[in-house]
Amino acid sequence: MRKPPGASDNLTAYTFLLPWLFGFFCLTLGPMLGSLYLSMTKFNLLSPPNWIGLSNYLAIFTEDSTFTRSLTVTFTYVFLSVPLRLIFALLVAIALNKGIRALGIYRTVYYLPSLLGGSVAIAIVWRQLFEGTGVVNQLLARIGIEGPSWISHPDYIVYTIVTLSVWQFGSAMVIFLAGLKQIPADLYEASEVDGAGKLRQFFRITLPLLSPVIFFNLIMSIINSFQAFTPAFMIGDGRGGPLDATMFYTLYLYLKGFSYFDMGYASALAWIMLLIIAIFTAIVFVTSKYWVFYGDGKEGR
């Protein structure tokens, strides 16, 4: 009376998977389908949703100028903050990889900002620093530059937020550091014998061997940056001001849903965001075969 071995194996596997499956279906897939449905309704949070088909999507793409502006702001933020943060993280990681003493302490100190960076408190500190009469402008005044009001002029505020994001380079740095430690030292020795300079070593050895790590960090940073909310909410006026210069996509979505009672519209915005992130991730994946090297000799272009 033995069951075929395959079936009982499956049962065991599914039993162990059960908690995850439960979480996935109830906490992820369920709400996702719910929001897909809501995105095709007019729903003001308080009365039952009304089915309106694709009208929300149509309105977003044809007549919503705030949508286009929020996309512009978000793209500006992503395209500035992601490369800057990664470059900065890589440079610091290389500096820390020189075998200095008390590495653990430095690593921790530099890692701290990325734990704190998303928090409301740090956003408020940033606000204080970059105020018209804040520390940054006082320092600039010392060297004779009259700084603009970083947080109240629509042309500058997004850069203030970008600096906050760059400051959170810690988690990318820790990953880079681990990647750097994996690179065999004999490669450097060999190239040195052959007469390669530091710069050449960096571009010919370090970068290619680090590319899988860069790839990973790039994807995580892109996804994170598209979803930035707290800094825009706290450093701006919480309503996307001044002049929609802090109207990040997520903030717009939040305002639509929770302040303007238009949850259907907000759900539609959320789905568009999902698509945008998916497209960007896909692009990175597709191009990855041209620049990511796994060093196992099976690149297989």
Binding site: M32, A270, M273, F285, Y294
Partner: protein
């Protein structure tokens, strides 16, 4: 192989992570998932009353929520404590949030069915009444809810769609708040009631010129004074009786032009400063620091503002338009019950206590505006300090004016928070030179119509 596994894992990871954000707008609709979330949020802000008295089985629990700073919270909690002493069968739990996040929090709670039994609303009461989430208090009048002494105009204001849905907790009248010390420094006489908008622009310019760089005549209150301007020109923001907009594009153009010209002349604060030190943020207001001489403010704000500065402040009536000042006594904020509350009668008792009880009035003072019952007004006037007397003097001037030039009580537009954001953006577009006034006003009116249609 290894690579494709990685790719697969990462894709899965990406989907899950993006999904987290994708649904963040949605789950409130699902109900279940947010229910626990928002009630937790409520508890974090809860100020437990000092009362140790364990529920005697019969005790009813009532949740009340308001917005404001710590000073207001202290006063409110003290008043609630007196209410509990006088009504031992009711236990009140107070919650409060700063004004910036208050309505988002309330909306979430309403959506998930966990809203407090009684909550404060401002000019946006129309929005909530339209959505049918407010308790009809009509049934409790003359029983739990004593309105005999309450101003008729305020009762009328709280009656929406023929049902009493809102009890004003304080009244005020808007006026021009003036830093008289700055006028002294500039050697310009303090303006008097009865002035006109041309006077206002000229005086603003004079102040800026006499005091020099970094000093300004006035804040830009295009948005806050919008409805006043309309009323002065026999229009209104919202024609509630016919459920339509009370103005056309041509009606508002002169108002935006006026501010643009006054700004160009140099009398108005720069847009940057208006953003970094908004007039509504009492702590940062440039009126307090003696950089801006005039702004539009509600009369009850004088108390808070005067408390923060040595400069002497005063209130003068709003400059006159063709039909007069357009200012009347209006409700600054008030209480509404939650339509789904389990204790409507107790909620009504609390509101009745709030407006009628002399002990409560003494504690609450003019923080939310002048009391709405004649008895409590007399009571407070009796022990008024210098600043209070200024307010009473001002409000009585407004009342007298209103007798000869009556204006109907007006309501905010449905979709008010989206509308006010749009108006603010429009002013900034003009201020930062992104759009010409004409274009900005056209876009603004188009946007207003859209918001109105979506919320009416």
């Amino acid at each position: 192989m290894k690579k494709s596994m990685l790719a697969l894992t990462l894709t899965a990871l990406m989907t899950v992570m993006a999904a987290c954000s994708g649904t963040s707008g949605g789950p409130a609709a699902g109900g279940e998932s947010t229910k626990s979330g928002s009630s937790n949020q409520g508890v974090t802000n809860t100020t437990q009353p000092a009362e140790g008295g364990e529920a005697s089985g019969e005790q009813v629990e009532l949740r009340v929520m308001w917005w404001g700073d710590q000073a207001r919270a202290d006063r409110t909690n003290e008043a609630l404590k007196i209410f509990m002493e006088k009504n031992p069968d009711i236990k009140v739990i107070g919650e409060f949030a700063p004004s910036s996040g208050y309505f988002d929090k309330l909306n979430t709670q309403l959506a998930s069915g966990t809203a407090p039994d009684v909550f404060f609303l401002g000019g946006n009461v129309v929005d909530y009444a339209k959505k049918g989430v407010l308790l009809d208090l009509s049934l409790y009048i003359d029983k739990e809810l004593n309105l005999k002494d309450m101003d008729k105009a305020m009762i009328e204001y709280g009656t929406l769609d023929g049902k009493l849905q809102h009890i004003s907790a304080g009244a005020n009248a808007r006026g021009i708040l003036i830093n008289t010390t700055m006028f002294e420094k500039a050697g310009i006489p303090v303006p008097q009631d009865g002035w006109t908008w041309d006077d206002y622009a000229a005086i603003s310019k004079q102040i800026s010129e006499k005091l020099g760089k970094g000093f300004y005549g006035t804040y830009n209150f295009t948005v806050d004074g919008f409805d006043i301007f309309l009323k002065q020109n026999s229009k209104q923001l919202y024609d509630m009786a016919n459920n339509q907009l009370g103005f056309a594009e041509a009606d508002i153009r002169p108002w935006f032009d006026y501010w643009q010209q006054t700004s160009e002349a140099g009398g108005v604060v720069t847009p940057e400063l208006q953003v970094s030190n908004p007039p509504t943020d009492t702590g940062k207001s440039l009126l307090i620091t003696g950089k801006v001489a005039m702004t539009l403010a509600a009369s009850n704000q004088l108390t808070a503002m005067q408390g923060l500065t040595q400069d002497k402040l005063t209130l003068v009536q709003v400059p006159r338009g063709p039909k007069g000042t357009g200012v009347v006594f209006e409700s600054s904020q008030g209480m509404s019950g939650y339509a789904k509350t389990e204790h409507p009668a107790e909620a009504a008792r609390l509101m009745s206590f709030w407006i009628n009880d002399p002990d409560a009035a003494k504690i609450l003072g003019n923080d939310r505006g002048v009391p709405v019952t004649a008895a409590n007004r007399t009571l407070l006037e009796g022990e008024a300090n210098e600043v209070d007397s200024l307010i009473y003097d001002y409000t009585s001037r407004v009342s007298k004016q209103a007798e000869t030039e009556p204006f109907a009580v007006s309501y905010n537009l449905p979709g008010f928070s989206e509308f006010s954001k749009l108006a603010e953006t429009t002013v900034q577009e003009i201020g930062f030179g992104r759009k010409k006034v004409e274009q900005a006003v056209t876009d603004f009116y188009g946007g207003t119509v859209k918001i109105f249609d979506s919320n009416k």
